[in-house]
Amino acid sequence: MKHSLAFCLVFAPLGACAHHSGDPPVYEGAFASHGRNIEVVVDPQAVLLPPPPFTNKDIFPCVECHDPDFLEPDAKRRDLGEPHDGMFFNHAGERIWCLDCHDTEDGDLLRLSDGTTIDLIEAPRLCGQCHGMHYRDWQAGVHGLRTGHWDGAKEFLPCSSCHNAHDPLFGGLEPLAPPTPPEVTR
């Protein structure tokens, strides 16, 4: 028998309780290995976006510059000009560029490989297209941070809360103070 677990995705503040109203979008391709079937439910009502890397004010929202009324979308892969100089890309080298993830018409939407456009908060579906193993682990609660209850409601963070999509490697941190060595008495 397949066991179905539904998790609420709450971005911030941690520990906040998700509430369901309306029909929350459900991630497709529910994870069905390991003898179970996990549906990851995103409740837009419950989502309070923290400042993840993609909301850097200089580059977000995309439509601020890429307004289709004024700027004709150009889907040709090319070196981005001066307006993007402040942006740092270090994600899969030369192999991917903007429109492999962003929608051509509306840059503030993401586009899956089958053409479906999704909201930024559903980024895990997009990231999971390449990073399948991490996506599976994340759905099972094994990749990334989970808070809440081991036997009940959990909150967990989507990819872009910890990873800058343009430069996804998790950076370093300053360590907290080391323990005090024992006193040496002679």
Binding site: V142, H143, L145, H149, W150, L173, P175, L176
Partner: protein
């Protein structure tokens, strides 16, 4: 059952009775009624409730704020396990601090249940090359990985076997606990533990009223007296209520996983079934419930 020879408690009653008379009912950090309390495992529920009320009163008075002390029991069909992804841990020591704050560890003198070891990649997991005092500007450092170590909650715990008075034991949900009111401070368990997970209170633990976590468990984070041994309890005051341990919730890279080993849908079972998992010092047959894995 009463035996013909006086047992420890009766003996203590006589000795302490004299001492109590001379010192107006207190002995070190223990109050008169605390001193005469029987071992926790032999108390009836009514007696436990009495003890909890006394402890709540004592701690609330000491810290000037309301403290609650529970003794929530293990649940049926639960055996706790822990998994730590060493391919993710960056050695930032956030878990160490969260543990100190949650579990009322002494700030002065400093006492910490989690020790994060910096391991040299060239030597792998060889404790001869483990460095707990690393302090670079930023972690992780190239050429090193990080191995946080605390109590492994072994299925075959050498510390429990070594305790001469039965002050430490394994609960039905797998948590190895210490009765701080029964510990005589002989430190046999510290010598027996191959993970250095047990710590001794050489001085009265120093915790201020602002620092103290008032949500306490008898076998967990209630403030300890001087002269007893303490260690990680899987945050018993949280996990017995269904919550994740504090270290799990603080880890910025989500390297720490906790759950019920008996639940086939738990994160723990996923890790055990899908990842490369090892335990520390497996050759000692301690059978830890603390697993390390590479995600």
């Amino acid at each position: 059952m009463k035996s013909a020879t006086p047992n420890r408690r009766e003996f203590l009653c006589v000795v302490a009775g004299c001492a109590a008379a001379a010192s107006s009912g207190s002995c070190g950090d223990l109050t008169h009624s605390g001193f005469f309390q029987d071992r926790f495992r032999e108390l009836s529920r009514a007696e436990i409730d009495q003890v909890l009320i006394r402890l709540e009163r004592e701690h609330s008075e000491r810290f000037g704020k309301e403290c609650t002390v529970t003794a929530t029991e293990p649940r049926e069909d639960v055996e706790f396990g822990y998994a730590l992804d060493i391919s993710r841990c960056i050695g930032c020591r956030r878990c160490v601090q969260a543990c100190v704050e949650e579990n009322n560890q002494s700030r002065s003198p400093e006492l910490q249940w989690i020790r994060v070891l910096e391991m040299d990649e060239r030597h792998g997991i060889d404790f001869h090359y483990a460095e707990p005092y690393y302090d670079p500007e930023q972690v992780p450092q190239d050429g090193y990985f990080y191995l946080p170590v605390a109590c492994q909650h072994c299925k075959n715990p050498p510390c429990v076997k070594s305790c001469p008075v039965g002050a430490t034991w394994q609960e039905d949900d797998g948590i190895v606990v210490v009765d701080y009111d029964w510990c005589i401070g002989c430190r046999c368990c510290m010598a027996a533990c191959p993970y250095g997970a047990r710590h001794f209170n050489w001085k009265t633990p120093g915790i201020s009223a602002e620092e103290v976590n008032p949500d306490m468990h008898y076998l967990g984070n209630r403030p300890r007296p001087v002269g007893v041994v303490e260690k990680c309890t899987f945050c018993i005051q949280r996990t017995r209520e269904g919550r994740y341990p504090a270290c799990v919730e603080i880890c910025p890279v989500g390297a720490r996983k906790f759950g019920n080993l008996l639940d086939p849908d738990s994160e723990l079972r996923y890790v055990l079934e899908q990842k490369r998992v090892f335990v520390l010092k497996a050759e000692l047959n301690t059978q830890p419930r603390f697993y390390y894995f590479m995600g």
